[in-house]
Symmetry: D2
Subunit: 454 residues, 4 copies
Amino acid sequence: MAMQANNLKIAYIGGGSRIWAWNLMADLAQAEDMSGKVYLYDIDFQAAKNNEIIGNNIQKEKWEYKAVETIGEALTDADFVVISILPGTFDEMEHDVHLPEEYGIYQSVGDSVGPGGIIRSLRCVPMMEDIGYAIKDYCPDAWVLNYTNPMTLCVDALYHAFPKIKAYGCCHEVYEVKDILRKALKDILDIDTKSRDDIKIQLTGINHFTWITEARYKDIDIYPVYKKFAEKYYETGYNFKHENNHLNNCWRQLELVKFDLFMKYGYIAAAGDRHLAEFCPGDWYLSDPQSVLDWGFALTPVSWRKDYLKERIEKSGRLVRGEEEFDLSPTGEEGVKQMRAILGLEDLITNVNIPNRGQITNLPMGAVVETNSIFSANSVTPVVAGDIPKSIYPLISRESGNQQLLMEAIAERSLDKAFLAFVNDPLVRLSREKAREMFDRMVAATSEYLTMYK
Amino acid sequence: MAMQANNLKIAYIGGGSRIWAWNLMADLAQAEDMSGKVYLYDIDFQAAKNNEIIGNNIQKEKWEYKAVETIGEALTDADFVVISILPGTFDEMEHDVHLPEEYGIYQSVGDSVGPGGIIRSLRCVPMMEDIGYAIKDYCPDAWVLNYTNPMTLCVDALYHAFPKIKAYGCCHEVYEVKDILRKALKDILDIDTKSRDDIKIQLTGINHFTWITEARYKDIDIYPVYKKFAEKYYETGYNFKHENNHLNNCWRQLELVKFDLFMKYGYIAAAGDRHLAEFCPGDWYLSDPQSVLDWGFALTPVSWRKDYLKERIEKSGRLVRGEEEFDLSPTGEEGVKQMRAILGLEDLITNVNIPNRGQITNLPMGAVVETNSIFSANSVTPVVAGDIPKSIYPLISRESGNQQLLMEAIAERSLDKAFLAFVNDPLVRLSREKAREMFDRMVAATSEYLTMYK
Amino acid sequence: MAMQANNLKIAYIGGGSRIWAWNLMADLAQAEDMSGKVYLYDIDFQAAKNNEIIGNNIQKEKWEYKAVETIGEALTDADFVVISILPGTFDEMEHDVHLPEEYGIYQSVGDSVGPGGIIRSLRCVPMMEDIGYAIKDYCPDAWVLNYTNPMTLCVDALYHAFPKIKAYGCCHEVYEVKDILRKALKDILDIDTKSRDDIKIQLTGINHFTWITEARYKDIDIYPVYKKFAEKYYETGYNFKHENNHLNNCWRQLELVKFDLFMKYGYIAAAGDRHLAEFCPGDWYLSDPQSVLDWGFALTPVSWRKDYLKERIEKSGRLVRGEEEFDLSPTGEEGVKQMRAILGLEDLITNVNIPNRGQITNLPMGAVVETNSIFSANSVTPVVAGDIPKSIYPLISRESGNQQLLMEAIAERSLDKAFLAFVNDPLVRLSREKAREMFDRMVAATSEYLTMYK
Amino acid sequence: MAMQANNLKIAYIGGGSRIWAWNLMADLAQAEDMSGKVYLYDIDFQAAKNNEIIGNNIQKEKWEYKAVETIGEALTDADFVVISILPGTFDEMEHDVHLPEEYGIYQSVGDSVGPGGIIRSLRCVPMMEDIGYAIKDYCPDAWVLNYTNPMTLCVDALYHAFPKIKAYGCCHEVYEVKDILRKALKDILDIDTKSRDDIKIQLTGINHFTWITEARYKDIDIYPVYKKFAEKYYETGYNFKHENNHLNNCWRQLELVKFDLFMKYGYIAAAGDRHLAEFCPGDWYLSDPQSVLDWGFALTPVSWRKDYLKERIEKSGRLVRGEEEFDLSPTGEEGVKQMRAILGLEDLITNVNIPNRGQITNLPMGAVVETNSIFSANSVTPVVAGDIPKSIYPLISRESGNQQLLMEAIAERSLDKAFLAFVNDPLVRLSREKAREMFDRMVAATSEYLTMYK
């Protein structure tokens, strides 16, 4: 690899993105020891073009942005590939998330598991496979960061298309739980911590259903601290993130799911409650909208996403026209830190989604899992997380197995096999006739994107 | 081991049994190259005493039966230990099976998984642990055959109590599916087979949820044959076992669950439909009594078991008093064949439940699984079954993980942890409050047997 | 697979063979429930042609033999492929075995390991790869039995060329050790056994260096018996096989190596002493010709093989001309029994060489190992042998690793890498300069067959 | 664990040490955010007492040193335990190293493998077991750093005595090879590096025979650099460490062994040449003193160690009497950095010796191996190193297996079994009679320490 920290080529697939791409721009601007070009590819070329303008307004001498019309142009000789795509539009997502409500099934996110996550996978995995084939052709040595959900299936699809790909999936949910642990330290022990990097954890599981099995701040075991914290706020919840803002209704999260899982399973779940709830058994948190309210979180409606997209498009216009200044403050995302580590500029230990090659000893080899890894010069090496504890193993193993089945079904382009994964999903608590009816309706609603299936 | 094929000592724990013990008597009587003593231990000493009389009526010069009042007397220097106990009485089982009906949960058997299987495990595992400890003390070199359900938990409990125990669990469900395959060969290809030993299979899974992944008769692949068979009888069912007898209502089985699983998952499920249905997702076969009827099987009420027990007790009386002759025809069970193989008198390849030590490569080491094993001189050696196929892996892995969690909960005597397994069971499709209420009521109903729990 | 027990096609690669092919003819003639055609392919077409005549003289109506001029003709639609080839001629083998004597290195066989085995591998593996490729093209569903040495490398080469091949390696050394155990039972306990099938064993290791970790006859543990036997004959040796015949000088074997290994390592080595000695450390048995004599075995000179070949050629002539009758007595080989089991006509448990897919838990997956397997309808399934015992693990692991390295070297056609395996061989106790000189001379001596190497 | 970075208790077993203990004193003095007490235990109490005085002269207010007469006093409630003991005296070591010379066997170090390493293990492992038992009793939660050789056996002994021990072995050989890589970068590419922490490596193997499978400086792949470096100095050697000092004769090292191994095996060996040579096959580097000289390294005679010990004792006296100032410059050892990381004060990625729990996928679980690990708050977590490359696997697997066998032999206190490991050692190229004679003589020479053996 002729990778140069000062002459890098980054390919951004989904380069018209108005969240992740802007985050990357902000963080690249901070990275003093890196420079190069960022090629933006998007099926919405105009969106990529706008991002080209926005990006070049920042510091063109250091990072040059360029919208391109073919994926090949973006990928050729890239050192890094960043993938954040929307598989379909929010119209498709609307069906994914809300059609099941007609069957009494509520989804807080609907992009990872559950009926929505599965139908989204049907659309998304073939796209990711195509990206994987293109990477094999144009830049087989590049490092590939995926942000797209469903994370597990997307990473699996990349490796399925190109087994030697150097890809990993990157998710910030764990970081936010580290921040909760900092709050707990402050709240219970009145300890101020400088950054979430001070919180040292052992991690195991699958994306959006990861678990922290040990947590320390210096010589302090955070587990007993978190126990007190969970007990203290078990009734009221802990309003950690969105104190008084307008998101409350759609993104609110009082950590009650997390506390409840801790009380039951004895381990700290490491994702947002909206995600965690979708992996849980027996209709615990998502049986109906009132339950969701009682558990202190929210069902995020796709209408909110559509509204928010409009806002972002308007903001994009303002940025392009220079009517608004680009916000350069650090985003809290780790993509650029990971690139720096891969470039050998520092070491980084963080959570990552890659196929199991020994890191989790009681899940099958090859299953995409999320554990800590060391990012170092040209390497992302998982640490040995060992066995998932018995109390949470059935939940994780069940879902991991279902994801592997879904991947096999999609690889074979078999909707009948995909239905086996669908009906086995924890949120799908229907008779098989009802389940099949819902599945068929959901497939029909997104059929435009599923022409490759039998 | 100073084991002599002609001077054997067999200890029978649950020696008052009126089914399994009589089966053993019949099969031992056929085994020409074996002789010895059978010690019968039962908490109902009189039942054991009756079996002593019944057994000694058969061929006392070859096999002498002796009821004993302590487990130590039974076990001391035993070469084989047979365990078939009823954990509690049918009154307890009545709660296990029928109390969940108040919550809309129907169980066809209720002794392996489901709410009934889990509560039964709470009673049974401590008993099996005690038997394990006693074997460690009195006959650590003995081979131990367990027939008791829940099979997986019982075997796990024995190894938990005494890791070096030479124990395995023995279940006839797979044999019966071999007979179905013979019927299919006859029905579809008009081929007569001599015995089920002619049917060669590859097997994987967990007890009562085992799957045949390959099946051959001589050079004939049975899979396409079974496919035609399943298709032919998919509407009507195939009345294989109990054509016109009075059991119909309680034990009827038209193989429709088996055919349906085959159509969906592409593999032959190898247990009775009443068992299989309890492991299946999304309320497929057990959503209500009418569904069960439509799927051609039956909910076996515990009242039937109570009535049948009365019949057996009466029969026992007649046998003791010499008013009825003991039926010596072969039972189709394999326990005695297994003993012969362990004694080095022949080799036997058959299905067996033992901890995973490599036979299934995508389930955790140590989980009790059911695969083929070779029974040979002083050895029961599992064959390498490899990975469970992806389409059935989530179903099996989920339940296997749940069983391991339940075992850990019971080993810790923690009802709260046991509830985690309970609420995670595929049949328990309740909100957590309802689930906990049902759990607590079921525990209360059998509390007499659960005094060791916190 | 449209395999018919009565219309089989067997392809024999090396079909001019005057030992193994004749054995097969004899055993096929006994197999009453099988019939078909045997296609003989050999680079010496005339030899194959002679065997065609010899074979057809036996029972042409049942088994028809046909010499063919291309491998494709032999393999097309074959149900079974038998491979027994000589890689090169005895002239090459003469260098393999005797050139090292100039460096003080003596080899009793020289066809598996040691300098001779390694150079033979350089010739043989590419040939086996070509056969593997041809099987992939002409009969990918065929079962493939290899008899050729070096067994481990040959089987590895077949799987390397065609990973889905249904191949296994078949070796009679273990059978003979079972016969020694029968002798021990007779000698020590005066027990008569009917056949070696009565001896039940657990087996682990690699070809020609397999070990019996448990052995039983009925309920008798043979280990203490063998201990007495080994102690009784530790001084004199036990003249088991070739009491007074002319082979004495070249094949003599008094089992002293076997007894000595048992005394030291506590396990029964399961191959002929001539093979075992070549795997052993520190110059134990092969330091010089006198040692070999003292240890009761023989260095088999290639001149003997040449003489014996002449005898066989003459015998072949007599058989072709009908001057001698073909000996139809059973050979003791198991190839035909294995075919019968694969055809579903019986089950067979026996030792076999296949890649490790879990059968040995402390050798790498994929390494070709020898353990028990079940031969059943269309399947050869290894049993779980678990960990190799610690005391013999270093010897086995060292050699297994060396074989894997050699395979990689040959796959890369790299003589320099092959030298790494060469110099690491237990028999090569030379300085590296001397070792390289010997290696280069040996390579030169067989260079005609090594044109594909760099 | 109530471990406080500012009130630590460190127990030093072998606390009279005049090298490692002084290194620790120097490094602890630099660690600004740590303080506490160091308890010194040594069978030579006076030596510990002297170190108490020396230590307390440095900065008693921060680190207080205290010599104690019992191991229990040292260990009670310790947070860290440091072990650096000499098993026996240099008189014993003299036999270990030099007696084999009578048999033509030369050892450059003689403390890890080879006849010397094995005999040293016989003495040392029982001592380490006793320390392990004491740790179990007095401070089961302490972290235990071992510096004692034979490293692999010592760590294995600790885990054998107390399976839940939090112990690891710590060796600086890898660090020094990182410094060689820095020299190569300077020499070949004229790149200045700041510290060895800039060199990022992937590591695998066993102690003193570890291998760097990837090496990077920033975005530069060091492998091609090292190749040029090795080629450049392949004839002359590279005098990296001891340019012109008096150690030349006993410690000289021109890296020729390392270069030669790289040329042959394609991987960078990561230990000093004196160690590497002792693991190598076929008498490559240690066949006689002239060879050693030609290969640019030295046989370190024990007489040198004795002389050097005298110097250190004299120096100790001067330090005690205040006639010489204690040298506080950083030692380059990592023990204190590791403690800081375990205290949660920073993360550290470095090489460490611990039992295999998945980090090396083609060595047995439980074998003590050396790979990278993350040191973080209260954890030492190995990274997944995957399979050892095939070309070096036989060398490593052979020796690792031999070490496991030796450990089993010592655990059973069986000299006969230990001899099996002895005769299998790569350096022992003798007939078995000669080998046994040498073994028996070496055992006799150190018999005073081996009274626990059968």
